[in-house]
Symmetry: C2
Subunit: 465 residues, 2 copies
Amino acid sequence: MVAAMRLATLVGPELKQLLREDPESVRDLLDEIHPEDVADFLSELEPEDAALLMRELPAEDAAPIFERLGEVEQEEIAEQLGAEKVAALASEMEADDRVDFIEALSDELGEQVLETLSRVDPEAAEEVREIQKYPEKSAGHLMTTGYVSVAPTATVADAIHAIRVHTEDANETVYAVYVLDSAEKLQGLVPVTELLLAERTTPVASIKLDVDRTVHPLEDQEDVAKLMSKYDLNAVPVLGDEGEFLGIITIDDVIDVLTEEQNEDVQRLGAVEPLDLPYFQTSFVEFIRKRGFWLAALFIGEFFTQTALRHYEEITEAVRGMLYYVPLLISAGGNSGSQSSTLVIRGLAVGEISLSDWWRVLAREAVMGVVLGAGIGLLAVGRVLMYPDQDLRFAITVGISVVGIVVTGCTVGAMLPMIMRRIGADPATSSTPFIASLVDVLGIIVFVQVARVVMAEALAAAGVH
Amino acid sequence: MVAAMRLATLVGPELKQLLREDPESVRDLLDEIHPEDVADFLSELEPEDAALLMRELPAEDAAPIFERLGEVEQEEIAEQLGAEKVAALASEMEADDRVDFIEALSDELGEQVLETLSRVDPEAAEEVREIQKYPEKSAGHLMTTGYVSVAPTATVADAIHAIRVHTEDANETVYAVYVLDSAEKLQGLVPVTELLLAERTTPVASIKLDVDRTVHPLEDQEDVAKLMSKYDLNAVPVLGDEGEFLGIITIDDVIDVLTEEQNEDVQRLGAVEPLDLPYFQTSFVEFIRKRGFWLAALFIGEFFTQTALRHYEEITEAVRGMLYYVPLLISAGGNSGSQSSTLVIRGLAVGEISLSDWWRVLAREAVMGVVLGAGIGLLAVGRVLMYPDQDLRFAITVGISVVGIVVTGCTVGAMLPMIMRRIGADPATSSTPFIASLVDVLGIIVFVQVARVVMAEALAAAGVH
């Protein structure tokens, strides 16, 4: 804590001075602080100053700090360090972090680093190429090839030795040792706790557990996260087409996936294409692109409100004040539609609702729409009658319309995400504003049709049929 | 897999017959299947049939299955089993799961179970009372008191013995052994892997690691989840006011918290009060309550659109067709406001944006509003000019209004969540539909004011000033 506070008081020029005069003390200082906190500190510095500091540290100490930087900072600081130093850093990382790191770099620097790595640590470079074969967001891309394995003939002592060798140059937690035969087929696993409780001479074959749950490298990372969360797994093995062991996915990576997917879902709900980078690091042009498309699509969808109003011109002009109520009434549809779609999108995402439930959902939302609509409708009738110049028939028109509009909102809002899922699209993409646009147009139609029936006499008197 | 398929073919009557004729084979069948899958199967059965099955199993086998059932199923099946059997089940659970289980029961049954538990397993009952002291969603409520600890004078062999004793009646993963002095103060921890690599005679004091990160029992569970995810922790100790060790929170519980909090955030964004139960298990009345309040609040907010339109009656009647464009134009404000608020709410939630950034966010969103508004405005102008009877000045009015409305949407949408955070409310509660309502009213004002300036001549000719 004290060390972290002392670090935080260093700014550019002082840092440079301290590094020149007493680099040893800076190293000691950094040694006392969690790499996560050093990474936070580096993010605040200019890339040049951060690079100065990273150059001072041996690669094995700098690597865990680098892993924890954001993509933009990784790239900016790496540019300052040059390919040689960056390759040394990458060589010290776990395979999955190494891939993320190299992918954060500019294409040019990334290639240089991979080339240098092939020379200084060919195994590490090979691991990167293995993982990069798999598409982004797949299990294969998420996995690490840094696991501990032994042959089926090994003893507990052998397994412990394998862990010792592994942990010498890696600091990821080891949860289990995997038992692999000569064809790299998975024979079982031994949790670390079991190793601890067994005699050293015990053959691993006699205490190994069967592995029930494995994933294919092309599986979606979100499905992997759900599987691990459902079965409370710390790690899950990734097996190839022939059942050959490729690597493991650990729980800490899955937490990052959950956070990332959550971000994407929320952004889609808000009609923004998911961002790859944090808010301030996303470029202006990128924002315009990710927001502009949806805004324009929604706006064009909303054109139809104007078309509908113009189409019903005769009626809306004959009923005095009717147009003033349009925004109010259609908003009730949009809001109830938002609610229903949110509930159904989440229900589908967490598996509480499946497609075969569509009929139950529809029935439930329709009844809910009637009840909610009746409540909101009463508010609307009260509002109309607050004006002494509005007649009762118009108030009734508004009230009934609200019921119809809220039922429309609830049912369309609930069904659209299910239809999206049915045709294989992400339900969150039928984002709530899109539903609002659709419901707006339908709301106008409901309002006019109700007016046509309830106010038939007045309309006839005005010459409208 | 085969066992799971055989199980799935059993339905009520056959299950009863099989249980009568050959209970042994049912037990064997269940033994081969992951408790999670048995729980899924039980959820599909009638509570009576599920209870029949659970009664057949010894408590230690039934407990892990029960833990994995949803709250509603836990209660329904427990009602069938009676307090004695339920207490036996609860006694076999980890402390945190036991608390969740007892809280899922009806108040009456819950009390009976706790009473029975005090008799048959007083320690387990005491643990429940300890945890229940802390408010829901606090670290104290989330923690388990099922941890492994040794005295500072212990050796590695002692620590291994402690793990052995612990794992005999618990199947949660052990990540580390905590070193506690006689006053229950935390002296450090030894990860399981370290125990494995050390000599059995080594004193734990010489290999223990300092514990940098701990939490207070009253801390919010979401903050605990963020801490553990940031520092990649498998478990975090919970320390009381005096620094005394109370328990630990493990990574699997944190994953559940992340999912739960995500659900709540998304529901708030959709203007639904967060639900406690899955969609189909939430009662109709509960839904009406959770949705009705927000719908009514938003509807009343939207009253002002009608007030504004009526207020500007002279102008909107003088400009032919103006009212037809109102829903279209104000939707652009609502949608851009949704986008901005989504981005800012997420940015605040994950810490990418802090309150002190408000000025940067405002400037950015304002400029973004101008650019996006210009694009959408061109679409709007094109739309107006598609009608041969609309004049150019009206098209210009619509175009300029769209720019103003989108800027309003972006800035209000971005600032409102920050204001909510500033006054200590949850930014997600300033849910996007609420922003839409506010922006709708502002949009009407912008439209009319722009018309007043751009169409001044035409309005003057119509006698409006």
